[in-house]
């Protein structure tokens, strides 16, 4: 049987590496990426938490040729595009006091910590939403165009975009399904601001729903769809699920 070789690119929504502080014996990978793998896809994920769309796009340009299907997660446009690869996970424009408390930052040596702080400080001064939106919009176009030209199946996932903010993208030129507006589900399930105990910011139950939707999309020959994840998909919400992840955080 024809097996899908799937390349996954993106930020924390495509990162299956769990923060070690939330790992406990017996905890398995609950990500939607694992769901796809369990369904028989061969997957290579280049996702990394905290990175920008430009980071994912550069990886996509290098690696897309090795896959017959791509899942491209578009990060929030406000992240720092020009972060050196070594510090790519700090591309969220943190305020320096928050950054200093993060465990990944604290694991850096003193010199590197200073470099990251200088970069973040400079990037905050250069922050420009018009510029950032221009970059992300053209990345989205290019990913669709390249996959179309090379006949690679594609799903784009834009967790941070709402129906209104999707207007900046050219959605008439879709090559594959475009899923957007995942953030309301993330927050409805668990109100997190900085540190999340869930894989890809979703419970195991909702990762399964997302993974199954993606599997169905990759195996479909229907015309590409624009799917508002906050309306068109029935994610599950239950206090016992929320409590499970809350407990991990408070531990």
């Amino acid at each position: 049987m024809f097996k899908l070789q799937v390349g996954v690119f993106g930020d924390s929504f495509a990162d299956r590496v769990m923060n070690p502080i939330y790992m406990h014996e017996g905890r398995k990978d609950e990500s939607w990426i694992q769901v796809l793998e369990d369904s028989g896809c061969n997957i290579e994920s280049y996702g990394m938490g905290g990175t920008s769309a430009w980071f994912s796009y550069e990886k996509f340009l290098q690696m897309h040729k090795y896959f017959n299907a791509i899942i491209f997660v578009v990060s929030h446009f406000g992240r720092i595009s020009c972060m050196p690869e070594e510090f790519a996970r700090y591309s969220t424009c943190y305020d320096p006091s928050t950054l200093c408390k993060s465990s990944t930052f604290l694991s850096l040596d003193h010199e590197k910590q200073n470099q990251v702080l200088d970069l973040v400080k400079a990037a905050n001064m250069m922050k420009n939403h018009t510029f950032d939106k221009f970059v992300v919009k053209h990345i989205y176009d290019d990913v669709n165009n390249i996959c179309r030209e090379k006949n690679i199946k594609l799903i784009t996932l834009l967790p941070f975009e709402t129906r209104n903010s999707m207007e900046k993208y050219n959605t008439r030129n879709l090559h594959g399904d475009c899923l957007f507006n995942l953030i309301p589900t993330v927050y409805k399930e668990l109100d997190v601001t900085h540190s999340d105990s869930r894989y890809c910011h979703l419970s195991e139950e909702n990762n399964k729903i997302l993974g199954n939707l993606m599997f169905e999309s990759l195996n479909s020959n229907k015309p590409p769809r624009l799917i508002d994840l906050s309306n068109d998909v029935n994610f599950v919400f239950h206090p016992s699920i929320t409590e499970r992840y809350e407990k991990m955080r408070t531990k």
Binding site: C82, M83, Q115, D118, K121, A122, M125, M126, F134
Partner: protein, 250 residues
């Protein structure tokens, strides 16, 4: 005809403050003298993003457009007021002697120093080339939609370094090489270029003719300025500018 010009030092009508006596020899001034109305929004040392923002704001005021794309080795999104430092790679001493830097308020100076400190780490040529390509596509598309003839000048690119298929007017590439061939020893002097738009008066005249001809004909050619045979290389001309530079150097 009303021409709007956008770009960096290759389209900048002012010369470095160290050469206050120089007459305006820019190709824009020459075009103006032949009866066109020309307004330039260009500023030396800026990025293509800087020019694009101004283009989006003002292109509708003009019948014809000349867009000059900067080097991809520049920081694209410098904060307002610091755009002309997109390309600054000099020492602290050079910065302190910079006329624009001297006029900045203290907090803006500190802002610039913070950015320049990390500039080598933040410079991403691939990102900048991606920007130049997409800005090129967008500018040409907008001009086509609004029926405005356009000339694209890409001093830092060659025939193969970009995809020019979205062009809706002529494309002139590699003007930087023309500038360097005219005066190969300039970079060794370590002083600002006394030539308007990095070209002698004679070559500004050549460029002005190429631009007006192109705007009138509405062609879509890609012209390699190094090999087109129009530009003039003459030691006497170079010497004229060398003398200006030596005079300044003392």
């Amino acid at each position: 005809m009303n021409i709007g010009v956008f770009g960096d030092s290759f389209a900048f009508e002012m010369i470095h403050g160290s050469y206050p006596q120089a007459n305006n020899e820019s190709w824009m001034h020459i075009i103006r003298k032949s009866g066109y109305k020309v307004k330039s929004y260009a500023m030396g040392g800026t990025s293509t993003w800087f020019s694009y923002k101004l283009f989006l704001r003002f292109y509708h005021h003009y019948d014809q457009i000349v867009f000059c794309y900067s080097s991809p080795n520049r920081i694209p999104n410098m904060p307002e007021g610091l755009e002309s430092f997109s390309n600054f790679h000099g020492s602290e001493h050079q910065l302190n002697n910079n006329e624009i830097f001297q006029r900045l308020p203290d907090h803006t100076r500190n802002e610039l120093l913070t950015i320049l400190k990390v500039q080598p780490m933040m410079l991403d040529t691939q990102l900048n080339s991606f920007l130049v390509q997409n800005i090129f596509n967008s500018v040409n598309q907008i001009c086509k939609q609004n029926n405005k003839p356009i000339v694209n000048i890409l001093p830092f690119e060659n025939m193969d370094s970009m995809d020019y298929s979205a062009r809706t007017g002529d494309v002139f590439v590699d003007l930087l090489t023309v500038s360097c061939q005219e005066w190969p020893g300039l970079h060794k002097l370590g002083i600002p270029d006394p030539r308007y738009c990095h070209l002698s008066l004679e070559n500004n005249l050549v460029l002005s003719r190429l631009i007006t001809k192109s705007l009138e004909s509405r062609r879509r050619n890609i012209v390699d300025t190094v090999n087109c045979g129009d530009f003039i290389y003459n030691k006497k001309i170079t010497k004229r500018y060398e003398e200006m530079a030596y005079e300044r150097k003392g």
